[in-house]
Amino acid sequence: MKPRVAVHKFSSCDGCQLAFINAGEALLQLATLVDIVHFAEAGYADEEAVVDIAFVEGSISTPQELERIRTIRANSKTLITIGACATSGGIQALRNMHDTQQWVEGVYAQPEVIALLADSTPISERVKVDFELWGCPVNATQLFAVVRSLLSGVTPLLEQETVCQECKRAQTVCVMVSRGEPCLGPVTRGGCGALCPAVGRDCYACFGAAPQANTAALAEQFAAQGLAPEAIARRFLFINSHSEPFHSEGKKWQGEGK
């Protein structure tokens, strides 16, 4: 019997499931290798189905989402988060550092009718997660590598090196050394192919922190290059603001600025 697969969406932009939708013929091929039972955007709706592999996009930000993820966890043998929202809370976790209620009141005429949890959180803060794919967005290479590993009964190998290492191997001219750009490549998890330096700009850490990232040293370097404390804070408190060590590093410099 073919493995049963589901793709679930929570608070997100839909961009990570596009790694499937944009895969072209690989998507058609995937459908021959597995049984896709739930994937709303692709036309499959059986949210409570019992599956072998559940891919989860998006963060948990409402009481309903919290209920849903618990059911999905109970129904899924392997649960894999795809992307920054599901893995770290995402860009919408920026609200966690503010009074969400006040923000809602600032945007909506009837704030009392909006049910939001106090924080936008990664899936792993709510249920057990088996594998986490970082990236805003994840790409097809990451996604299909995991699918292939699981189909072959092999534990997926996840990215451990930094963007900086990928960038050096690609022999891209360093944007920090040559132009003084506040590049986050030295502390950011690889997997994107060091895209930003390749197009001539600084990495902004959309793949989250690399294992053992030395954010303190990099932040000091930014300061030495003349970046204001408040701007250093904003570098770390961005796409993955809710995850460590970015959260603490950002908060430290935010405090400095006041």
Binding site: E25, A31, E41, V104
Partner: protein, 441 residues
């Protein structure tokens, strides 16, 4: 309508749309008693966390509103912020932005036609099922989608949340070689795009003439992408900064989403607004004459005419725009030369600016207020699906009544879903969408 029955039809999770929504319909004694397109995409509050951010961070933030049309968000924001900073990026950047946008139209339209809409018209649950019976058509669609993504990658580094744009232009100029390769692929795809238009015209689309107001950008010299004045099919012709004088969003209690309405006599003068349509059909209805001759000639062979009041011509309008986007991409690529200054420098200053561009799903309106350091003070973002929301509900009422409410629940549900999907609603654009729990006495 003599049949007396009360039925409630619920589609708890709409499939083949971007984001999460549901349809609820109550029919009482042969008439629609209640109809709601429910949006339960949680609000992510983008407008709030833009506040305090530097103008140089805005493009990376707003891209995250929508994975399917990030370029549209980046373009509307670029124009708005550049207008505040008094920057004119020049002809090279202007052309590259048009090319970039063509890539997004190609990707988004091809995705919608083949993966989301076409299964409805041919009778399949999904494109994956459809591919087993119509492999040539589905694969052609996937190729066009992939080509759009390749244009996006060439200029933006990646197709979802591109990294190659900045205020003032682009971070880099692609090499001649990479652009020559794109040109070659666009030329090869051109006959496929023309064939796609002709194929869709042979499908049995429902004949559903409706009265509605079309709203789109209009530019005297070209088919609109990044620039133009706002026009409506009733004769309105305004600058984009006047948008809020005629269009307003409101928080209506019976619905789960903010609805935008058009006030033809001006917001200040009128109490009740009307629904309006944005997107490919509205654009084509207002800009047919701006299309290249080759696009109009190909369409003429099909017998389908624009302007059109048949909402289901939206899917053909999308294909026509794919044909246009390819021709436009070819024109730009044929004249390509790398620039030494892919972006102009900017200096922060305070002010208010507006941006309105044609996202694949229709006009995307932004307003920003920056302080003297170039940081965002206030941001307002009005996505196209929020504007189509009221129109979709009006359409559902009229199409389901035309279909016949005596039909079986399954038929009504299927047709309702088809009507909604036809608008290509992008529910993830959750700046303004919310789950609304209505308390009733």
């Amino acid at each position: 309508m003599s049949e007396r029955r009360e039925v409630t039809i619920k589609v708890p999770l709409l499939t083949r749309v971007e984001g999460e929504g549901a349809l609820e319909l109550r029919i009482r004694e042969g008439a629609i008693a209640a109809l709601q397109l429910r949006i339960f995409e949680p609000p992510r509050l983008f407008e709030k966390f833009l506040e305090g951010r530097g103008h140089e961070e805005v493009l990376d933030i707003v891209a995250r509103i929508c994975g399917i049309c990030p370029v549209a968000y980046q373009m509307s924001a670029s124009h708005a912020i550049e207008s505040i900073l008094g920057v004119q990026p020049g002809p090279w950047v202007r052309e590259m932005r048009r090319l970039f946008y063509c890539g997004e139209w190609l990707e988004s339209h091809a995705l919608h036609i083949h993966l989301l809409a076409a299964p409805d018209f041919i009778g399949f649950k999904s494109a994956i099922e459809m591919a087993a019976h119509h492999p040539a058509e589905v694969k052609r669609g996937l190729r066009l989608q992939a080509l759009g993504n390749k244009i996006l990658r060439t200029l933006g580094g990646r197709s979802v949340h591109p990294v190659g744009v900045r205020i003032g232009g682009f971070t880099h100029a692609p090499s001649r070689e990479s652009m020559a390769e794109l040109l070659q692929e666009c030329r090869e795809a051109l006959p496929e795009a023309a064939a796609l238009v002709r194929w869709l015209a042979t499908l049995e689309l429902p004949d559903d003439e409706q009265r509605f107001v079309s709203v789109a950008l209009h530019h005297p010299d070209e088919y609109p992408l990044n620039e133009g004045r706002l026009r409506a099919s009733d004769g309105l012709d305004i600058g984009i900064e006047q948008f809020h004088d005629y269009f307003r969003e409101s928080h209506v209690a019976h619905s789960t989403a903010l609805h935008a309405h058009y006030f033809p006599g001006g917001w200040a003068e009128e109490k009740v607004g009307v629904p309006y349509l944005v997107g490919p059909l509205a654009r084509l209805n207002l800009n047919f004459a701006q299309l290249p001759q080759a696009v109009r000639d190909n369409l003429a062979t099909t017998g389908v005419r624009f302007p059109s009041r048949n909402m289901f011509h939206s899917v053909i309008a999308r294909a026509v725009e794919i044909h246009f986007a390819l021709l436009e991409a070819i024109r730009i690529l044929e004249n390509y030369a790398p620039s030494d200054t892919p972006a102009v420098g900017v200096t922060p200053r305070a002010g208010v600016g507006y941006g309105c561009t044609e996202a694949p799903r229709g006009i995307l309106w932004h307003r920003y207020e920056l302080d003297g350091a170039g940081k965002v003070v206030v941001a307002t973002i009005i996505p196209p699906t929020s504007q189509n929301q009221a129109r979709i509900e009006a359409d559902l009422k009229s199409s389901l009544e035309q279909l016949g409410l005596e039909r079986s629940d399954d038929e009504i549900r299927l047709h309702g879903e088809k009507v909604i999907r036809n608008y290509d609603p992008c529910i993830s654009c959750a700046t303004h969408f919310l789950r609304l729990k209505v308390e009733r006495d």
